[in-house]
């Protein structure tokens, strides 16, 4: 029978629900599959393409560990860490963004709009310029600042009762302060070049190194599975606190753990690439649109984040006569989408 006809019996109704669910699950699998395929394609393309173009066979041989003339440096030292960092950071930002958007039930409540990545950026910059630190110390400071700021925003908002809207507004104030501090640190640095500046203002992969990749990879190996596991409850939280609690989710505990993990993810990613504009904010809503309602949105959002950063970096490097940092490309691409979402979220509340 058709799923659209009015069911005549209970059995028919159950059958109809099952059909709809099977279709939705099938659609989710197809979407995830296509996204993984696209990501692999973009990854190989970013390894092959550049000043010197390698064939697919050459890239394959290099990845398999066989010697390819010149590739040890161009691919091994430049393109591979850059591409890997793009994927890891993109996924991290996306997971953090979609979690915040779901928990606060507002598409604009992502860590890059409410000041968390900006705060992490200030801390990283402070460590580099004022303290003269590098590597893990910078990441640690960024993470501490990210968590500290998230906590402070939450406390301020919670004190006054209504959490959601206040939290976003307070976050906007915090973001403005953090951006000022970033500008000050940059202008007070004895000498700063544009690449360095862009990294801390809107995000860039130009300074990607294996060290950055290593730190972020270890963190991701621990935190990605943690977020995906905690996210089982997140799909239920999308229904609202009461319904989620009724379905057996420990709402407060899930929420705190999720916020903590995803803030850490976003902060580690910020320490490596700077706050890449709008990735945290865009990925979740795109994923939700592709995958349809009531499906687990974390995995596709992470894939889309990675794909966005990777392809935006390719566009920034090769599509124009000038090279643009990835954050500028995602910023320009994201701007119209942001405005669309802003308009839409005025009409439909409570969903991404």
């Amino acid at each position: 029978m058709s799923a659209l006809e009015r069911p005549k019996t209970t059995a028919a109704a159950i059958e109809r629900v099952a059909t709809v669910r099977r279709r939705a699950t099938f659609r989710a699998r197809v979407v995830n599959g296509v996204l993984i395929g696209a990501l692999l394609l973009a990854f190989s393309f970013s390894l092959a393409f550049g000043e010197r173009i390698y064939s697919a066979a050459e890239v394959g041989r290099f990845l398999a560990g066989q010697p390819v003339p010149g590739a040890a440096f161009t691919i091994g030292e430049l393109r591979l860490p850059r591409a890997l960092l793009a994927i890891l950071a993109g996924a991290a930002f996306a997971l953090a963004g979609v979690t915040f958007q779901t928990l606060l039930r507002n598409p604009l409540a992502s860590p890059d709009i409410i000041g968390i990545t900006n705060g992490a950026s200030v801390a990283a910059l402070f460590m580099i310029i004022v303290v003269g630190a590098s590597g893990l110390a910078v990441s640690a400071a960024a993470v501490a600042a990210g968590i500290g700021i998230a906590f402070a925003i939450y406390l301020l908002a919670a004190r006054a009762g209504v959490v959601g809207t206040r939290l976003i507004l307070i976050g906007i104030g915090v973001a403005a302060m953090a951006n000022s501090a970033t500008l000050y640190l940059l202008s007070s640095a004895s000498r700063w070049d544009l690449q360095g500046a862009m990294r801390w203002l809107s995000g860039s992969l130009n300074l990607a190194s294996w060290e950055d990749v290593a730190v972020l990879a270890i963190v991701s190996a621990v935190l990605f599975p943690a977020v995906l596991a905690l996210g089982q409850g997140l799909a239920l939280l999308r229904l609202g606190d009461d319904q989620a609690a009724g379905l057996g989710v420990n709402v407060e505990r899930s929420r705190r753990l999720l916020v903590l993990t995803t803030v850490a993810l976003a902060a580690f990613a910020t320490a490596a690439t700077g706050p890449i504009t709008f990735v945290a904010f865009m990925s979740g809503p795109i994923a939700a649109r592709l995958i349809g309602p009531r499906q687990q949105v974390l995995l596709p959002a992470g894939l889309i984040g990675a794909l966005l950063v990777l392809s935006a970096d390719l566009i920034g490097q090769f599509a124009f006569s000038n090279r643009y940092p990835v954050g500028v490309v995602t910023g320009v691409l994201g701007a119209p989408f942001l405005i669309y979402l802003m308009i839409r979220s005025q009409r439909v509340r409570g969903s991404i």
């Binding site: 604009l108 709009i113 301020l156 507004l169 500008l183 202008s187 544009l194």
Partner: protein
Amino acid sequence: MTSAQAIAATGEVARHNRRPHRWLAAAILAAAVAAVASIVFGSRAIELSEVWRAITTGGDDLAAAAVRSRIPRTLLALLVGAALAMSGVMLQGVTRNPLADPFILGINSGAALLVVIGIAFFSIQSMTSYIWFSLTGAGLAATFVYVVGSLGQGGPTPLKLALAGAATTAALGSVTTAILLPRIEVMNVYRFWSIGGVGRAENSDTLMVLPFIAFGIVLCVLAAGTLNVLGLGDEAAAGLGIDVLRTRLIATSAGVILAAAATALAGPIGFIGLVVPHLVRLVVGSDHRWLLPISAFAGAALLTVADVVGRVIARPGEIEVGIITALIGGPVFIWVVLTKTGDQI
């Protein structure tokens, strides 16, 4: 009751016997003290007697030159501070929105984008061209943010306007950066302008923008009385014989023109337009006929003091005033959010 009587009546209600004359005098005094401080203190420490000598008898040593360079800077700081504060009064009044500020509403970022477009594509150089581009950008951004923020239920609530403004700022900022990056020479001009500062003041530039600010002030004065009535709600105001649409148009234009002129002169300086009207309202209440002039002088004083602080705490360098105002203004913004009850947010 005629509309004039209505204005007078609401003015009486709003005034609450809070001695606004004294506060106005205090604000003028504060601005004067700030101006003196701005000439006396700077990133170079100069003896008081030296300062006096430099002003009265001239002289061509370094100290005298430093003191003389502080005079245009002080004038600019006073003017920009006053313009931003009045702009904040108008925007908060017309949107009945406690968080309205040219910076929060994205007006500065619109002005900045158009100025950058002007420099990059139309090779504009003079202050007069800056101001026209700045005005266009500010007007477009203000209209856009207001329209987007008004969509949906409840009209332009503080949350919707602030989000629309923050999002628009982020979006326009990205476009600005994309235009700037390949143009190193424009970038070098812009990257200091973008922080917001009064350190590169030229009296000739200030003079050129002065007519725009004067025009903005005239519009403010025209709107001030009727804004009191508008505070009662659109329907009540219309019932009392106020042309709501015209009042809104005048007040919004005043706010946008003042913000654009300030931005053209000093770059995007945030939060003065937010902080000053709130503080002034605390002491004199919400009668716009007092709120406006007192805010103007208080804004001039605050921006000038912030500039002095930026010069003194970072000796021998200086911190641009835009950074100081954001660090002061951020907490005040959060305080305003926290003190408003749920339905106002």
